[in-house]
């Protein structure tokens, strides 16, 4: 077992700042854009982005939601580990809005496929974009690519990318655990 730091606290802060400015460059004052974090782990990042963007563009009315994909997974009844459903928090219609889906790590792309399905149950968005903190390159099972990336990493199938948040584990840290075998 080998642990390698990908982003430490300060780098993570800078990366999140950069992602915020990239979003603002594209979406202006966020008058028609909603940020939607994926439950359970993407919401730490989406909350940070939401707060920071609020400070920068000074718009208190940015639409924010959290999407749970437990009931939309494609591996249900296929022997995979059962995941606990989390709360859906979307109290606006996504009809004709620009949506930014936020998750911490992009790997096979199956979660995002499920999220797209789940999102269409709330209406027909004008446009959907994907923001991820860590993109595990060359490991997709589906033709899904992110629009905004914190950092790209090359990994093998049995590596694990762990994103820790101080809200959750008392420290901000992104690291990769490699099986040394």
């Amino acid at each position: 077992m080998n642990a390698k730091v990908i982003l430490e606290k300060k780098q993570l802060e800078i990366t999140i700042d950069r992602l915020c400015y990239e979003l603002i460059e594209k979406h202006g004052d966020f008058s028609n854009t909603a940020i939607i974090g994926l439950q359970p782990r993407g919401t730490f990042l989406s909350k940070r982005l939401y707060t920071r963007i609020n400070e920068i563009v000074n718009n208190k009315n940015i639409l924010y939601g959290e999407l749970d994909i437990a009931f939309y997974r494609d591996d249900f009844r296929r022997g995979s580990e059962q995941i606990t459903p989390s709360e859906m928090k979307i109290d606006f219609t996504v009809e004709d809005k620009n949506i930014v889906i936020v998750d911490d790590v992009l790997y096979t792309g199956r979660t995002i496929r499920a999220a797209l399905d789940a999102l269409t149950d709330f209406g027909r968005p004008a446009k959907v974009e994907l923001l991820v903190l860590v993109d595990r390159r060359y490991s997709r099972h589906l033709p899904i690519q992110p629009d905004y990336v914190g950092i790209s990493v090359d990994t093998r199938a049995n590596d694990k990318v762990k994103v820790e948040w101080k809200e959750n584990t008392k420290q901000d840290l992104v690291h990769m655990i490699t099986d040394s075998k």
Binding site: F71, Y72, R77, R78, T84, P85, A118, D121
Partner: protein, 307 residues
């Protein structure tokens, strides 16, 4: 996530407290889903469910069917009156024939107590008991307890009186098991003839005076007199039953506290409960029906996830 300990839902008796709490947690999510504009998720899209009803039902059947459709399952409905059962086919033969058409899950209601347990020993599909005679009605008990929890915050420590025809009620037995597992105190109340002789061995209080029961409880669950199961006369007349055990506004007002009124339906207005009580703000009868869909979605989702 915790795992559901059972492969089938045959009765509350076999469930653990964790199982029941897992159903409640999952039902919370489904309740949010069925209150959205698009009330559907694709979880069970590769599951086929047969609803096999050997006895009449309105609520339970519609509730199960809606729950299945909102989980995107394929559904076939079967009722005994319009089937080959009337031509002399046995239960196992009927069900095996349905299963050979590739059905994954069976929801069954049957007049014989233990019919689902019997069936579970002979077929491979997962079985949900939707009421077997006077034995159990597990999904009703789950939705009742869920509704109590929703209304009062928790079930633990609450006092629940089940009033009426306890002998012929599967709702009563399942409710007793479920509420006790969740830490509630249960009392049954009714005329001596409608209370099973050894019911106190289940750890429930027995009372024959309705006012005493109402004064004791936080929640009163009023049951219907199951005339269709009563082969002999258990009380002189419905009018007399109603005078002694019917819940009306006057009785409710004479209590020096507010209690929650429940009823599993179908209601016989004017017999076990009067209209003004059934439609009052104390009554959570229609919440029970709404919660029925969410809890049944939760049960089927948890069973289906075990494949």
């Amino acid at each position: 996530m915790g795992k559901f300990s059972q492969r089938n839902l045959l009765g509350i008796k076999n469930l653990t407290r964790d199982d029941i709490e897992l159903v409640f947690e999952t039902a919370d999510n489904f309740k949010a889903i069925i209150n959205r504009p698009i009330k559907k998720v694709p979880s069970l899209r590769d599951v086929t469910v047969a609803n096999i009803f050997f006895e009449n039902s309105t609520r339970t059947r519609i509730s199960f069917e809606l729950a299945q459709k909102r989980l995107s399952a394929d559904v076939v409905n079967f009722s005994a009156s319009s089937s080959s059962v009337s031509k002399g086919e046995t239960l196992i033969d009927t069900v095996k024939n349905i299963l050979s058409m590739k059905v994954d899950m069976v929801v069954m209601r049957h007049p014989a107590p233990g019919a689902c347990i019997f069936l579970s020993k002979h077929i491979n599909a997962q079985i949900i008991n939707a009421g077997d005679g006077t034995h159990e009605h597990p999904t009703q008990a789950l939705l009742d307890a869920y509704s109590i929890k929703e209304k009062l915050g928790s079930v633990k420590g609450k006092k629940i009186a089940i009033v009426g025809d306890i002998t012929h009620s599967r709702v009563a037995l399942s409710n007793i098991y479920c509420l006790q597992k969740l830490g509630a105190e249960v009392m049954v109340c009714g005329p001596t003839t409608l209370i099973p002789k050894y019911i106190s061995s289940l750890g429930v209080k027995v009372e024959h005076d309705l006012m005493k029961a109402l004064n004791w409880c936080d929640v009163a669950n009023m049951l219907r007199i199951q005339l269709e199961r009563q082969d002999i006369k258990y009380f002189p007349s419905l009018r007399e039953y109603s005078m002694l055990y019917g819940l009306d506004k006057q009785r409710l007002k004479s209590l020096n506290k507010e209690i929650v009124i429940m009823h599993p339906g179908p209601i016989n207005r004017g017999v076990e409960i009067t209209s003004d009580v059934a439609d009052s703000k104390h009554s959570i009868i229609l919440d029970q029906v709404e919660n029925g869909v969410a809890t049944r979605m939760a049960v089927m989702y948890l069973l289906a996830s075990q494949k």
